[in-house]
Symmetry: C2
Subunit: 221 residues, 2 copies
Amino acid sequence: MPEHPRPEPSGGGRGRRYHHGELRAALIETSFDLLAESGPAAFSVAQVARRLGVSTAAPYRHFPDRDHLMAAVAARAAGELAGRLRQAAQDAGPDPVERFAATAGAYVRFVGARGAGFDVIFARDLEPLQDRDLAEAGRALMDLLLDLARQALGTGLGTDSPQAALTLLEQHVTAAHGYATLHSGGLFSRVGSREGIDGTADLATAASRALVRGAPADSGG
Amino acid sequence: MPEHPRPEPSGGGRGRRYHHGELRAALIETSFDLLAESGPAAFSVAQVARRLGVSTAAPYRHFPDRDHLMAAVAARAAGELAGRLRQAAQDAGPDPVERFAATAGAYVRFVGARGAGFDVIFARDLEPLQDRDLAEAGRALMDLLLDLARQALGTGLGTDSPQAALTLLEQHVTAAHGYATLHSGGLFSRVGSREGIDGTADLATAASRALVRGAPADSGG
DNA sequence: TACCGTGGTGATAGCCCTCTTACATTGACA
DNA sequence: TGTCAATGTAAGAGGGCTATCACCACGGTA
């Protein structure tokens, strides 16, 4: 891959150039935005191209097909998500259970804002592509969470019970994902609970906390 | 709605009749099957018609548009799901926590087998339709779960803490939904846990149990 | 037997999509 | 200055979908 010759597309010239200059990166960025708005199902290459003001054929100069573009988006999503979760854990303070639980809320917020979650990152369609970046990013993401799960269980030191941490991780991930998807699906507005992404994020965090500690006996109000 | 004149399509006559006879019911049934195979995103009226061996125009004799068909499917899914959950709770014995938790596993199995879950039943697209049957079925489903949640918390008698039951319900529902969707999404095959719908169902049940009781300290194995 | 309503059919308009092909434009560099 | 590779474009093949339209087959009934 050669270096980009002159990467500034908003230079002194008038309007748009014939060559976009950063189309590959822009495709990933815009695909990500589109995902946030309409979900993975409605994603289309043509729409991304139109939004960028290029022809619908242009993306195929950079990605052989739709799936490869999706894989690039997924890899980027995984990286960004990992950063958010790491940050959330850090912001949650020293208690390892709180650090772990906080990532559930952060996940819900991320999906709410970006539209891409575990379903996008680990989409089955993308598996046969064997994309290096995506595989790497996905593994890093899971390692981060597994590490936090181990610490939450207090088994970070020895080889105490690797299965317990894995089980907790799965419960945590699935609960967070459930909250995120049902929030965007509109269930919560029907059940009648708190509205908004923040309320949902708090619930997800509480759920994760409960996975480790159990349901609080006096959680009324 | 008039009575069906001669409802048996597989009678003594040769091959298929000009009139299907039970097309409306068959559309719902086949849509349900198709959902199980390809998910809600890939659902199309045309495909359902082809599978039934009728023209792609035929469904529009029974449903004004795609969404109304989907609503009928969703209502039916809700009814069927409620039956399964009720049965699972019954089979789980007398312990209210076990009864409640069992519905998580039953939900995962239902989604695995039928492809339709809360996302289909409470799909946002269907809300503007104001479908009576769907609204009714959805409410009945949630009432069933809420009741089980109350009993699991031991607050079935008085007005102890309605908010706690609602919170537990949400955590339970979202966890179950997360397990179901991530199972079909293929996450578990990557994380490396137990394969198959039964393993996932067991995990979901355990997660729900943990929501009430907390993570078991010695869950290794 | 004539006729009518229900529920089918084939054809088609209109839209969107993916991906390919031939061609145009550009910057880099000899 | 001329050439080339990279990266854009327009056009279109080929396909799927939703929904409509005029028409047809059949059962029931006057």
